[in-house]
Amino acid sequence: MNKQFSAGLKAGVSIAIGYFPVALTFGLLAKTAGLSIVEAIAMSLFVYAGASQYIALSLITAGVAPFVIVMNTFVVNIRHFLMTASLNEKMQPERKWVKALYSFGITDESFSVISTHKDGRISTAFAMGVIIIAYGSWVVFTGVGHVIGANLPLFLKAAMSIALYAMFIGLLVPSMKGNRKVVILAGLAAAIHCVLYFTGLLSTGWSILVATLVSSVVVEFIYVRSGKTVESSLAKEVNE
């Protein structure tokens, strides 16, 4: 239990580092948008969703109606539905209230770290570890950003803006090695998202949702004919 929890904390450090500049910038922008430090921290504490918090700030500044901001938040975050449904397949059985509790901490980043963890059934303790350190970083650095955000050296802030994407790449590449299915899954989803993004057909939130779903379904149907799953092709490589 404790070992799993500390493994989770350790795995979550890269998220905490990645959130640092993003949360700091959020805190700073919240201040310029006229939010008090309590209001800024409260948004990170209760909503805890980076992209939609940024969007909310720009909509608040633009004087958009609160109801529209809430609807926008829903659209941006509906992709988590897919992630938690996927994660449910991998998590150890657990009491409902515990799952309802840690589901609050599922973000793009924590989902990626938890779901690519390769120890069979993923323990609740591991997920909690990842979530607590990531959430802590997000909330604390929102507050810090509201107070001092402007004073971080520009070159460092610029460099750290890559952190989350570097982490995504660091999670994806090891699974891609020698596994064509993973390469196709990621490549196809990236391609679909690029098309939707550059044609402006869908907003980012919907676009990620559609790209992920289409890629996962299409690739699954192709592979079902050859009788392979992600795990069985991974296992095959281990055996070879």
Binding site: V13, S14, L35, M43, F46, V47, S52, A56, P66, F67, I69, V70, T73, F74, N77, H80, F81, T84, A85, S86, L87, E89, K96, A100, S103, F104, D108, F111, S112, S115, L154, L156, A158, A159, I162, A163, Y165, A166, M167, F168, I169, G170, L171, L172, S175, K181, L185, A186, L188, A189, A190, H193, C194, A211, S215, S216, V217, E220, V224, V230
Partner: protein, 102 residues
């Protein structure tokens, strides 16, 4: 901001929490058809692809090269067998040097 802000925050929190909570809490223990389970197992890899591209190209406004270098360095370190932390810190390091001299 006043009370309207807090009502809005409540709404935002609710519509963010529901898609996170419902599948994890209420799909529990139900056997899914193999094809659905297969699709769900694909999602982590597909979502990573969609999260990385094209957003990584735009991390610095007006300078696609910044994102390209970052993605390239991250990919290289990961390919060489670095864990997630070396990938993150190594990429930040390279881009910090790049930003200092640009």
């Amino acid at each position: 901001m006043g009370p309207t802000y807090w009502w809005m925050l409540f709404g935002m929190a609710l519509v963010t929490y529901i898609p996170r909570m419902v599948p994890l809490t209420f799909l529990d223990g139900k056997e899914l058809p193999p094809i659905v389970a297969g699709v769900l197992r694909n999602i982590p890899y597909a979502v990573l692809g969609a999260l990385i591209f094209p957003a990584v190209l735009f991390v610095q406004e007006g300078n696609i090269l910044f994102g390209v270098i970052g993605a390239g360095v991250a990919f290289l370190i990961a390919l060489l067998g670095g864990g997630v932390m070396p990938v993150v810190l190594g990429t930040i390091g390279v881009l910090a040097v790049y930003s200092l001299f640009m």
